[in-house]
Subunit: 432 residues, 2 copies
């Protein structure tokens, strides 16, 4: 008789049902590959409905709560698809690990907040903590950082980590529509939540970035030091200006070793059209990694959705079935380095600046002077004639590489000078 891997599934929403779909369709192939039969034997969910999608779950054990599921004697491995940094997910994952059971989780918030602690708990109990599904859906970026690049020192990871934002920005560009307009459509299609703040504010991407940073640099995840800026202030005009200069605007999460601590940022960025990351559109996600030996590596795929995420959950379950384990963040929990943040605003790069200028003499000269005072070199300027009856004229400039602190200081001074009708809009430029 073939050995079994008995799964306790906590959470029967979209992804949970996707996992059931996958096991129903590809269970035989997985058994051939791993030598084990993967079987969901026990579940728990907020709703007690026994039917999920095409699956009648009335024959399974229904645990009272996630923690009871985690320690149920029939359960070999806990799959946690509840979400949220706190309980019930947190206690359930801890209970499973403490009992020496491996955990597969898609919970980025839990990892971003408690990753170090959970990694050490897993190690202490000879259990595995797996989370391919927590970052970038079906893209195997966790496995790539933890195993595929295990010989490298990674210096930088940048990614398109939120499909909702990428969908909205792509639609704005392709169809010439406003942010608000596209957001409403994305909500109707189920690509954006009723309260979209978590996605469009950059917070979802930041949670994922915190996990990637820990994997890339062998540090504790550190969500709080991430500089976060969302996409809701990006205008159609910015997108059009960027397009005219050969760029697209993407929400990127970036972590990099600056040599003086680690920098983590989530914000919109101009990326070149025709560059690999510039062609990642719609709901697709991407992660671009630079390692000292591998050089540049990029992974692109579906970052969300029931089936791609189920694919990631099963990657972890197959590792467990095959008896393969790697420390949660690539180094044993006891060796995770404390996170040391780089000094703020060290990003050096080009900047896109959009200003609405009052139609007064001296404005351009004053702006150029303020930039020159900070040694900021202008790369290009586009000034258009004001629209009929408009009292301000759009003025767009891009700069050569400069320090973010200088850029911010210059813009602050430009705002005080009073030539601009509104605060300047600044978007960083990535020259990948």
């Amino acid at each position: 008789m073939v050995a079994k891997l008995r799964i306790g599934l906590a959470g029967l929403g979209t992804v949970g049902t996707g996992v059931l779909d996958l096991l129903a369709r590809n269970g035989n192939e997985i058994e051939a590959r791993t030598g084990k039969k993967l079987e969901v034997v026990a579940v728990t969910a907020r709703s007690n409905s026994r039917v999920r999608g095409a699956h009648d779950l009335s024959g399974l054990v229904w645990a009272e709560n996630p923690q009871a599921l985690a320690v149920h004697p029939d359960v070999d491995v806990l799959v946690e698809l509840i979400g949220g940094e706190g309980d019930p997910a947190y206690s359930a994952v801890k209970a499973a690990l403490a009992a020496g059971k491996s955990v597969v989780t898609a919970n980025k918030a839990l990892l971003a907040h408690h990753g170090g602690e959970l990694a050490r708990l897993a190690d202490a109990n000879h259990a595995g903590l797996y989370f391919e599904a927590a970052v970038a859906g079906g893209i195997p970026v966790v496995k790539t950082l933890r195993e595929g690049l295990a010989g490298n020192q990674v210096s930088r990871v940048s990614g398109i980590l939120n499909g909702t934002c990428n969908y909205i920005l792509t639609k704005m560009a392709d169809e010439g529509r406003s942010f608000d307009d596209v957001l409403v459509e994305a909500q109707k299609l189920g690509y954006a939540e009723a309260d979209p703040t978590f996605d469009v504010g950059g917070f979802d991407a930041a949670h994922k970035l915190a996990v990637l940073t820990a994997l890339a640099f062998g540090t504790e995840p550190d969500l709080k030091s991430i500089e976060i800026e969302g996409i809701s202030h990006v205008t159609l005009e910015d997108i059009r200006n960027a397009d005219a200069m050969g760029y697209k605007i993407k929400l990127l999460g970036v972590c990099a070793d600056t040599g003086d601590g680690i920098e983590q940022r989530v914000h919109p960025m101009l990326v070149r059209k025709g560059s690999p990351i510039g062609e990642v559109d719609g709901v697709f996600n991407a992660a671009a990694i630079h390692g000292d030996f591998v050089g540049d590596l990029m992974l692109v795929g579906r970052g969300a959705g029931a089936h791609p995420t189920a694919s990631a959950v099963l990657s972890d379950l197959c590792d467990i079935a095959r008896g393969n384990r790697v420390p949660a963040f690539g180094v044993p929990g006891a060796k995770l380095k404390p996170f040391r943040a780089a000094p703020a605003q060290t990003h050096a790069g080009g900047y896109y600046v959009a200003l609405d200028l009052h139609d007064r003499p001296g404005a351009v000269a004053a702006i150029a002077q303020r930039l020159a005072e900070r040694n900021i070199s202008i790369e290009s300027i586009v000034q258009r004639a004001p629209q009929t009856a408009a009292e301000t004229a759009p003025f767009i400039l891009t700069t050569h590489d400069t320090q973010e602190s200088d850029m911010r200081a210059a813009l602050s001074q430009i705002e005080k000078d009073g030539y601009a009708a509104r605060p300047p809009r600044m978007i960083r430029m990535e020259r990948l």
Copy 2:
């Protein structure tokens, strides 16, 4: 004292030296990650020079030959960087596996010819057979197929698998130069061999494709059924015509489950500019995978070179140091399916056809008639006036999706009709 993984390194060329570089630079990080000290204790090479790059190897064991290295009592794992389908690589790898030692190899030819046999030998001796470096250099495509997508049924893999060809095609397009001209430059730069046939003839890509096919479908590798066409017949004119229609020309390796056997092909292909694979230029490689749950996934990175390839070798060595093993082609060797090839010429897609027509009445009508007889629908036609004094005129057409067998039959008839000065050039089109 920290445990050691003692490496026997067979082959001290570019990649072998890259592995030494990597261990020298990142050995401490690897020890922290894996809990083991990875140490090259014994080597063998054609030349007995004790110094390789920055490394003085005079203190190591120098084995008489690769087979002696494989069974040397101080060696825990054999790293085979000799190359070639036959001896000495073949016997050395077999000797190591038979002795229960895991093998890491970059040898695509060995795997394409003997992969099934070696996989079974590894299983029988509880040893691992690892070959991330054999396909697409630093890109972790082997790990992705074998582990990351273990829950999926893969239906198709297509890749840019040869950096030399991609470099040549990119240079031709970017600089408007001929194939021969760019090839000479590539040879000077070390991107192409003195005898370039193995690369530009598509054979290198075919070996890699045979390995990917086995991983994707759990079959024996089957090199001989691959339809192989290189790039030496691709003209600058073809590249310019493709460009004008919004395409680039790439050498692709494609394997797909047709439902009636597996299709494997290596040939030039028109891919859309702005598509993810269309933007993979220069020496970069890429693999695009479609799995039933993950959907479309693409990996892009450096497909060759000492350091990217060393990165792949170390990925495997870290798996071994961590005690993680997966069957060579994702399923146990005993369960590898015999390869069943799809009927020839089943590819259905669009076609680009370039003809040189004699300046005679009726030529276009005759061509259109021959295509219509096979139900081939024309998508676009470009006919240019003949160059001054030229006796023929270029005539370019693209077709809607059609069967390759129909396309070939129609072209054969067109050639017989005698309106064309030279045999038609046909390049397949990929609409990714």
